[in-house]
């Protein structure tokens, strides 16, 4: 975590702690993938988001490449194809790994810092815990629930959601804070926060 302690900007302690936890989790066995596999996908996500051209020939890597590189190009038919090859749960774990790598790396790069190294893999097998009863797909391509909002997008793999969403809340704001149009994060007013968010989402062509 030396990258977080050796620069000119005062990184908030809660962000530093959350990023540390998030990075350590890449090195632990997940729900469907081993630590070695998760770290391989994390490295792939970093390479793709760094602008490197990569060629892959398996569905899991294809998910990482698309989500990390060009998320707006996902389509229902492509997601169906990936789910057919992997299952929804594996897709969700890969999506979470990709998104978290991009979040952490983007944060540090915007501060002029190199991304953090990934940890060493820990031994062990994936838990393979399935959610029962299984959430149903309503209008989304992957089952989410109970409502169609971001905090419930990884309910098929609770351990993923338990890492991803707290990171988002730490970097952005909590669900409670979101209800306040006058929310302030330090010297930033909610409108200024949303200007950053909207401009970035426009650049990603994210319709949501």
């Amino acid at each position: 975590m030396s990258a977080l302690a050796s620069h000119g900007f005062p990184i908030r302690a809660d962000i530093a702690a959350r990023l540390t936890d998030t990075w350590e989790a890449f090195g632990r066995p997940g729900t469907w993938y081993t630590a070695e596999e998760r770290l391989g996908f994390a490295e792939l996500a970093r390479s793709v988001r760094s602008g490197l051209e990569v060629e892959v020939n398996d569905a899991a890597s294809a998910v990482v490449v698309r989500i990390a590189g060009r998320p707006a190009t996902t389509t229902r038919s492509w997601v169906d194809e990936m789910v057919e090859a992997l299952a929804e749960e594996q897709y969700v774990e890969l999506m979470g790994i990709s998104a978290r790598v991009v979040m952490g790396d983007t944060f540090l790069r915007l501060l002029g810092l190199e991304p953090m190294p990934f940890p060493e893999p820990q031994a062990g097998q994936p838990s393979r815990i399935r959610v029962e009863p299984r959430p149903k797909k309503v209008r989304s391509w992957i089952a989410v629930g109970p409502t169609l909002v971001p905090p419930f997008t990884q309910v098929l793999v609770p351990d993923e959601n338990a890492i991803t969403y707290p990171l988002i809340e730490t970097l952005y704001m909590t669900g409670h804070d979101m209800q306040d149009p006058n929310f302030r994060r330090g010297d930033l007013h909610r409108t200024q926060i949303e200007l950053v968010a909207s401009t970035l989402s426009y650049g990603n062509e994210c319709f949501y």
């Binding site: 005062p10 908030r12 760094s50 989500i67 229902r76 006058n182 929310f183 949303e194 950053v196």
Partner: protein
Amino acid sequence: MLRWSAESTGREVELIAVCDPEADSKLVAGRALAAAGRLGSAITAPDASAVELVASELGDGAAVDAAAVAAAFEGLNRIVDGVGLPVSRASRRDDADIIESLGLDQFPHAAQ
């Protein structure tokens, strides 16, 4: 959320600044903050130029917070696009003017 937070708190905002780098959002340090968002979606190597602009206008703490928000949405965009999370029918109806005027209806997932 940008329009909602501005209207709810009596602040003027020009939404065109979201897609036009030359436009003035009317928010304090708006150009610097928009630049941070814009760079966040494109950055591939360390580049503090945008947050340094934010820091020069609002201080180092705000610069870090702006980088954090940009990072959060780099992840959120991927997750909502990854699962095909639809925009609610009510939001599409209420924001129809924004969707058309900013050209959001041309985005790949707009037809979902």
